[in-house]
Symmetry: C2
Subunit: 252 residues, 2 copies
DNA sequence: GGGTTTCCTTGATTCAAATCAAATTGTCGT
DNA sequence: ACGACAATTTGATTTGAATCAAGGAAACCC
């Protein structure tokens, strides 16, 4: 739980016009609201960095002074209760924009779950950028709406789905997202640990593990390695995720 | 579960410049982004209506063609699973803006839980309005961010809090919101049924009822009527809501 | 104003997932 | 290749909330 201040981060190559042009994340990020001609302006205020697993760059309750755009790797966003109970509210990958807050303080903590790269924007500089590129603000509103829809879906999961349905939903969503990003494979990667999956789904490590094992023994998935899952029956998984299981273990 | 089409709604007084000026909800709604001089323009595209308890005006999965602004009363927003399990993702009161969606279809259902008044905006008309009043778009982004923060808080509740903590959080939040709206009383009103509270907190009716009874027998609240709660110890309630209960029933 | 319906409360019992407790596997540094 | 540690799986037991099952209290409607 080391913050930026407690451990110096490795700063990537100094700000240059090229890093925005070459940025892997640009095509799926809000940055694509800015035309190629103006990328220099974006690059001038973007502050690229690299972080390792475990590094915290947004901390719940701290003053919200910076905004971030993940350009590679995955981070987890979470909230905690004083006794240590944790709820991961989402995972954010390449292209994701973070830190948007009306309030003066961050509402959640953000931590790298694998080595990542990100761009930092200071509040006043982003403000200027938003004023100069109204399209950027529209894109931000769009992404906020999409996140709201995802949050509602997650509330349904946390409030009303069984452990089985939660794990199926998780796999199905991961599958959907990765295939939206081009990969048409039925093999999905899980950069997060079982503990992180559990904290995301409102379950315990044991329940997540048992449920995956169960899916495997039912022949619905394969677990070739710790961080990979192969979906042997994606359609069945979608049904379970939607709460339409032909009852826990059907008698076919 | 009657939709707008299935039962005709009572249309309020015809669109006139005055209804926006006199609107109770204006000071807390996104509409306050529009100056008093331009209210006529707003009134021209706003379509006021009255709805009764139980009427659905946004339905999950249906084409997202309209936007709504609640001007009086309370609505519930929910998602459902095919077998009838329901998760209420939020309650929206006067001033709340609804229906914002990037997608072509609504992601949730909205239903009046008491007689309400609202303003309807068609998608193209709202688009024009947004283009003419950039401040409106900024306000929408702000409210979306606030809702995102609330959604994350609710995920923490649904994923990690006990029944006791959930009910305490619900009462504490209601109290906080009503006092933000002026009322400094420790008496809060609950326009929703126990079933709706349960569907909001991811619990059953029985658990909500038992928990409230328990708080009452512990001397922390009073239940003067079915839809009113008096907080006798607001500070204690906040502690329980935050997960810092001095253990379920302390031995004082 | 009496009967019906709906909502709420209370009690007994069950159950899904949590907790407690090892055993196993995988990873990393040396 | 070898320990040491961390992550995961698996098993036994407990438990908080769900479910099942009545009662009671408002609100609603002829």
């Amino acid at each position: 739980m080391n913050t930026l201040s407690s451990r110096p981060v490795i700063v990537a190559k100094p700000s240059s016009a090229s890093h925005c042009i070459e940025c892997d994340a640009r095509h799926r990020s809000v940055c694509n609201a800015i035309g190629e001609r103006d990328l220099e302006r974006l690059a001038a205020v973007a502050n690229p960095r690299k972080l390792e697993r475990g590094q915290v760059f947004i901390e719940e309750g701290r003053p919200a002074i910076d905004f971030f755009n993940i350009t590679s790797g995955t981070v987890k966003l979470y909230k905690m209760l004083p006794d240590g109970r944790q709820q991961i509210t989402g995972f954010a990958g390449s292209g994701h924009f973070l830190g948007l807050a009306v309030s003066e303080t961050y509402a959640f903590t953000a931590e790298a779950i694998e080595p990542i790269e990100l761009c930092r924007f200071s509040r006043p500089k982003l403000r200027t950028l938003l004023d100069d590129f109204p399209a950027l603000e529209k894109r931000l509103l769009e992404t906020a709406c999409n996140e709201l829809v995802a949050a509602q879906e997650q509330m349904l999961l946390l409030g009303r789905k069984t452990a089985r349905e939660r794990v199926a939903s998780f796999l199905a969503t991961r599958h959907g997202e990765s295939s939206a990003c081009g990969k048409l494979s039925d093999r999905i990667s899980l950069p997060m640990t079982r503990a992180e999956i559990a904290d995301y789904l409102g379950l315990t490590i044991e329940t997540v593990s048992r449920t995956l094992t169960r899916f495997k023994s039912e022949g619905k998935i394969a677990l070739p390695s710790r961080d990979e899952v192969e979906l042997l029956d994606p359609h069945w998984l979608l049904d379970v995720a939607a709460g339409q299981d032909s009852h826990t273990a059907s008698f076919v």
